[in-house]
Symmetry: C2
Subunit: 191 residues, 2 copies
DNA sequence: CAGTATGTTCAGGAATTTCTGAAAATCAAG
DNA sequence: CTTGATTTTCAGAAATTCCTGAACATACTG
């Protein structure tokens, strides 16, 4: 591997990171290389740069395609398949969020819903189902939020993120104001 | 494993999910069992319920402790160590977010910053560094948002999530209104 | 059609990770 | 200090995952 040092460092790091997720090291490296490249790469380019076997690269690219993380394209006058990543990092974030949701969250939600249909048989069962209900509620809220912001254009999403928790603080102030106006006390721990 | 069916289904599912992340199957199952249990469990309880070797359970609990996902406690009159998960699912979400950040995001940010200090040597290098800058910006924004909402109390966080993208739409409306007031056109693609 | 370039599949070897049992360490209680 | 209960460690067995090379498939070219 005779990559420029910056690229090499990134590729290696990404490989390690990949293996902390479901993705294996070589697939992570292939993706990182494509992400940094200033032109579409074909399988042989990747073999040349990373030194994996041709078949490994082929399988890695296949996997990245199932994740929709790379796009196949043909260069004029070249029969070989070339691959790129989307230019826009926000686009990549959106795709990742969608794919992980499809693969991890949705099956979990469906399992929780199935299980919660059953009648608890024992006291312990009842407790367990209560826990699963809590979990279902939290996951639903989080994914609901994701669904909601997903439809925003990038600039809006960015603005929203920059706003951060301030929105909530405005909400809080408003509520406090309302309490004053309506002469109620701020809600105590109990009420 | 003679668990009630709802618990068994959840434990097995969680094990599989765990292995899609860095966590291995047995550790995932141990965690799921503790999460559902209505009382603290000791290592031998877990051995009895899941059928792993004692030493495997011991190591699994160690790993869960490093993730701060389980808490050790002692029951009166029992010398054995017992384990629980936090009662509050939001608390669990917060811990997970912090730990993953510490283990995955922070090292990535520091690598990107390091690499971006170097002067690009070639045109391709320059492009690669540009990509890394884009990535750094996106990650910074996302983690900045997380830092910001992390400090909100649960109820505020929940309110914020329920609000979803509506905040952004209010923002947009406001901006459009401002454009009208100041007699500017809505910003075009170019300007 | 033959020949060549390109892409895919897959059996099995290599590497890694997981899991276990046995031994060692720790610790409370007598 | 000794005993027994509990937990930890760790070498290596077992299981899993990864990777490769060779064979095969496909499709373009002349």
């Amino acid at each position: 591997m005779d990559l420029p040092p910056a690229t090499a460092a990134f590729v290696l790091h990404f490989g390690e990171m990949g293996s902390r997720w479901g993705i294996n090291r070589t697939v992570g490296q292939i993706y990182a290389l494509l992400f940094l490249s200033d032109r579409p790469l074909c399988a042989d380019d990747i073999v040349a740069q990373l030194g994996f076997s041709r078949s490994n690269v082929s399988m890695g690219l296949k996997e990245l395609e199932t994740w929709r993380l790379v796009k196949l394209q043909h260069l004029p006058g070249d029969r070989r398949e070339h691959f790129t990543t989307p230019d826009d990092v926000w686009q990549i974030v959106r795709i990742l969020a969608e794919e992980r949701r499809k693969r991890e969250i949705d099956p979990t939600l469906s399992l929780l819903r199935d299980v919660l249909m059953q009648k608890p048989a024992t006291r312990a069962d009842e407790h367990a189902q209560g826990r699963m209900e809590n979990l279902l509620e939290v996951i639903s809220l989080l994914t609901g939020w994701m669904d909601d912001v997903k439809s925003l254009p990038d600039e809006r999403l960015i603005a929203l993120l920059k706003l951060g928790g301030r929105v909530a603080r405005v909400l809080e102030a408003t509520e406090r104001f309302q309490d004053i106006v309506t002469r109620r006390n701020r809600p105590s721990k109990k009420a």
